[in-house]
């Protein structure tokens, strides 16, 4: 069945693989790297039960993470590639590896925030693995709100040292990756204190462990925070400092600096430190596209081979494959369109970040607010889409999707973490909203705004011309004035510009209406913000969805004509149109609540979605194969490339230690039977 489904595709899968990964050379390099690491970790043979599925106690999980982490980290150095700098060989973000923080946080932070001398000292050590770095920011009592950090770094001018200290229980560093037992050094975020003056959070290089025996240095208490939903291959940990002394020169002084006498020199650009955040979020956006695609690859393959029921409405005479049920391929294909939407958006995010870094190196930080907002918004949108999508893909596999051996629970559990870390999504949405409103304030002052945001300027011109703020009815918080219903009909809805106009109208209407409601509110600013918070979040999401569609359009329309392009263009239309009518879409009513789309237009859109689904159904296996996941990286009994779901599942199941051991006793779990079951049977109750 798999072969037939695979052959049904109209385009060359390898061509799409190259598009996804950025060229044939990279595809070749990646395949070689995965093969080496999988060989080294003994995971190449798909008939062997992956050890993590047999048992998963805390120690075993960490041991496995150490093995994978070492193999991936050393492969990158030995073969001079960065493939595993940001993701593990299972496509989880590298902070899932005990050696991953050094590449994903430690080195990038040094590059951005250390002095030339500090970089010369630390980077060679970190890049060659002679030290294993981490990044300590989050505390038991303080997450996304960095200014609340309580750990202190107090200057002692007599000894020219900083004293790192944890003054309270809530100041305990809690969550940082690899600090439990793995890292040797860490950058620590602590409040800079000079002569009792608090200069707020700054970065300090602190050695945590002896390089000779791994023992924590004096005054540092380290440990593991225990089992998590996923990421158990690393030791997210806790750390407390009892008057730990470090040389003054180990404060990262690339930006702000402190002299031996205790003179504080401010950062030339306070926001420069945000660059690390922007970087990490661009990494996350790309990573979750692949994690969602992993879940979809497994669910799609299983849906091809799994039979269930007598077809739609039970009217067939033989059992039908899951994939033939509309609800199944509706869910899988719309989610697939989202995975591609995230991928293309991440391309833009990466490119913009590269430009920003060039500008910053030239001392120009003007692009930061735009890039910070772009990365924050895409991170919030993509991580939510990927988390919800991976879980729905898992549910598409029924009971089997609930088994660890399906690989899906681990994927879902790891991707859902991204909605929380590196900026909790609800916090990020509000940052996006704040940025949008600031731009409109600028426009209201008749000043120019960031050119990349000019669709706001156009909307504003249109809107302010049509009615000055004064004549408004903010009482019902709606902008009525810029409302002209959509005029598209029939196939016109397949036109990228029509699709963009719908998303643009929705975003502009929500932005201006929330802006007006907020700025004209009689409440104190904080209360007004709270009053309208849910709308502000909707505003941010609508803006980001417009941007995502925009990038989907730009990355597909520029492709040369080919069967692959046709498929990707249909996929883009499916994304654009199903986001309006999909029952699971978030805040879809804002597309139509002002009457912009009529009932019969919605009905047309639903019909088009149906025909797009039927067009794309034969492509579904190729669209997931194209991501080029190895069987070992999926680690799924039901999602392997060969489609032998039941054989692999039973084969793995019989290898589970509790079964192997019970077989030795003739098929009974002795301790359980003797200790608990037999006593119940014999009890005279």
């Amino acid at each position: 069945m798999m072969d037939k489904a695979r052959k049904a595709a109209s385009f060359n899968t390898y061509e799409l693989t190259c598009l996804i990964h950025g060229g044939a050379d990279i595809v070749k390099q990646r395949r070689a790297a995965f093969n080496r690491v999988e060989k080294l970790t003994g995971t190449l043979d798909p008939s062997k039960l992956p050890c993590s599925y047999g048992n998963m106690d805390r120690e075993q999980a960490y041991d496995e993470g150490l093995e994978w982490g070492k193999a991936a980290f050393e492969d990158g150095i030995t073969h001079k590639h960065t493939i595993f700098d940001n993701i593990t060989p299972r496509y989880v973000l590298s902070n899932a590896s005990p050696f991953g923080l050094t590449t994903v946080m430690f080195i990038p932070t040094l590059r951005l925030q250390a002095t030339a001398e500090q970089r010369a000292k630390w980077l060679p050590l970190a890049e060659s693995g002679k030290i294993n770095g981490a990044y300590c920011q989050t505390e038991l009592g303080h997450g996304s709100f960095v200014r609340g950090i309580e750990t202190t770094a107090t200057l002692d001018t007599n000894t020219d040292e900083f004293v790192i200290h944890s003054p309270t229980l809530s100041s305990t560093k809690f969550w940082p990756g690899a600090i439990g037992f793995s890292c040797t050094h860490s950058i620590v975020v602590a409040r800079l204190i000079i002569r009792n003056k608090d200069y707020g959070p700054h970065l300090f290089m602190v050695q945590f462990r002896s390089l000779s025996d791994g023992l924590p240095l004096r005054g540092i208490d380290l440990g593991d925070i225990g089992l998590k939903m996923s990421y158990n291959g690393t030791c997210n940990g806790y750390a407390t400092f009892k008057n730990v002394r470090i040389p003054r020169s180990d404060m990262l002084m690339g930006n702000a600096s402190v002299s031996p006498e205790g003179e504080y020199k401010k950062s030339p650009h306070a926001k420069l430190s945000y660059a690390t955040l922007v970087y990490v979020r661009t990494v996350i956006v790309r990573a979750v596209a692949f994690q969602l695609a992993q879940a979809l690859t497994i669910a799609t393959r299983y849906s091809i081979v799994r039979e269930q029921g007598l077809g739609p409405n039970g009217l067939a005479t033989t059992e039908s494959a899951l994939i033939d049920y509309k609800s199944q391929y509706y869910r899988l294909l719309t989610l697939t369109s989202k995975a591609y939407a995230i991928l293309f958006a991440s391309r833009t995010c990466d490119a913009e970040y590269a430009i920003l870094r060039k500008q910053q190196d030239a001392g120009n930080h003007g692009g930061l607010p735009y890039n910070h907002t772009l990365a924050a918004g895409l991170k919030a949108w993509a991580t939510q889409a990927a988390s919800d999508g991976a879980e729905d893909a898992r549910k598409c596999c029924g009971g089997q999707g609930y088994l660890m051996t399906s690989g899906l629970p681990e994927i879902v559990a790891s991707v859902t973490a991204t909605a929380t870390f590196e900026g909790e999504n609800y916090v990020l949405w509000q940052q996006v909203g704040r940025y949008l409103f600031k731009l409109i304030d600028t426009l209201a002052d008749r000043k120019p705004i960031e050119p990349k945001m000019n669709y706001l300027a156009d909307g504003w011109a249109h809107f302010s011309w049509m009615s000055p703020l004064a004549t408004w009815r903010p009482s019902d918080g709606c902008v009525h004035v810029i409302h002209e219903p959509c005029s598209a009909r029939g196939e016109q809805f397949l036109d990228a510009n029509v699709q963009l106009s719908i998303y643009r109208h929705r975003a502009l209407r929500l932005i201006f209406s929330a802006y007006t409601a907020l700025r004209s509110s009689s409440l104190p600013p904080a209360e007004a913000w709270n009053e309208h918070m849910m709308n502000i979040i909707n505003v941010a999401r609508a803006h980001v969805e417009f941007v995502v569609l925009q990038e989907f359009v730009s990355h597909t329309s520029t492709l040369p004509a080919s069967p692959m392009k046709t498929v990707l263009v249909n996929l883009r239309s499916l994304f654009a149109l199903s986001t309006i009518t999909n029952p699971a879409s978030i805040n879809a009513i804002s597309f139509i609540e002002d009457g912009y789309l009529s009932l019969s237009q919605l009905s047309t859109i639903r019909d088009l979605v149906n025909s797009l689904l039927d067009k794309l159904k034969p492509e579904i296996v190729a669209l997931t194969d194209a991501w080029d996941f190895t069987d070992a990286s999926l680690c799924s009994a039901i999602g392997m490339k060969d489609g032998n779901a039941y054989e692999t599942l039973m084969n793995w199941t019989r290898q589970i230690p509790i079964n192997v051991n019970a077989k030795k006793d003739g098929g009974v779990y002795k301790s359980g039977w003797d200790g608990w079951i037999d006593p119940v049977l014999r009890a005279r109750l």
Copy 2:
């Protein structure tokens, strides 16, 4: 902070506790039972790390399940109560216990489908725990589609026996609870074969294990299916049968029967076997209300004590509690309203089932289709609401919600299973749709329908009077004719009847529009069904949401006037109105796509939701306390009644074995350091 938040409530929490559990006596009995079991399992002391959080390998998880299961099962027998017949002391469905299937499936099935003699033989043994029963239906290749079951039971008239056999790999029984290592007997669903004639799936009593030593009987291969997302306290297992012989008299012949000569007597009412399904689904609906409430209890308490940021828009001078952010109490309170909505709906479901059983005992099975649909629809709706809601409550706790020690991952993982088992939700939605369309066929034939569904009859009268099917435009699949916009304004939207009218209009419009589109389709029936499947699912959901609101209204409006009633009525309005405007609501556009509600009416509804949220915010702790969860049943470091989240979290964390062991070595995880980290540091790469 907890005390202050607790005291803020306007009503008596205990009064609500009694309402939730059904009276003061039951509350008293439950508290005693939980206390006995928690004492017996050593989980009363909240300062002790629950063992499952230290480690969770396959064996330990099962051992813990055996201990809890035995304690709960025996407590029920000893103290003559049924508290733990359907849920564990952690509020998971009893199939999470190795002794739970006997009460939740085995005994109920015997009662419904065994003969008097069979009941007399088996029930006393099962009810006293002298045998431990299970229920074997699902196979590796066959889940919700029972007719696809492949296991055979062939009559051998020479020996007056049935031969139970697994003919294929896909016929392997896979998933049934407690069969891996725990059960002694099981009801097995197998195809009845007499003289090569296949009579389809029937039920057979099969002994799996020797009562003396627990060894599987000859020809039966049993084992565990391995780690799952949750339910690891029991041994969901696999079973294959190699020509296993049982007495002919061990087929459950309460309905269909087979004579020694092999004459088959049909069931008087084929659908009687559905009664078990209906029963189990009513149990699930009630259970998930409590599981969602568990997640909300933890998230609410943590949101009270957790501080994060400088308030809305960062304008405050001191850090604010999470609960003070609109997005936080919007999510928590709307989810709380859902938990109560599910609870009240389950009351109706239970009552209807009790009536059905009475009727069936009197030989009247007429109520089955209605009850089957009610239970199926509520199961699908409630399990989705509870799964999504529990996960969102978990996300409300940020990073801490990702820790096993928060208790939330386990709750989320166990509740999400209910969306899949005992009837996969997408299958159930379509059954509901089928039932609704059948009723309309009946109405079209001018015949009466089930009185409890009369809102359809009213809608039909209205609609058919306004336009005969002929004059329709099914092309765009919309009913235009029964569309009169909602006339409500301002506070009128707080009126239960206005709220009901909105839900009723939406349900009727979707039902009639989908019905017309389907019945007037030119496609073959199966293809037509597939073409419209997503709409049919929307139809079913809209109907069920109308029913849920109806029951929320009926259970609250009948209460005597009291502060508690005022709160519950506000909670009902919050449920009714936020379901329309909540960005996370499923298919909310169907409330407005026909223009039934205008933009300014939606704006009014959003304002009312805001004011309801502010009214209910002081009640939030009481509304979760009222469910009366013990600390041990929540098993959460951040959700204990006292609100000492950080103290408990750090206290538990330090007790985690990997930390305790590392401390003995001076703070290093020796094997990991020596085996993996040290080699990386020393490698010359």
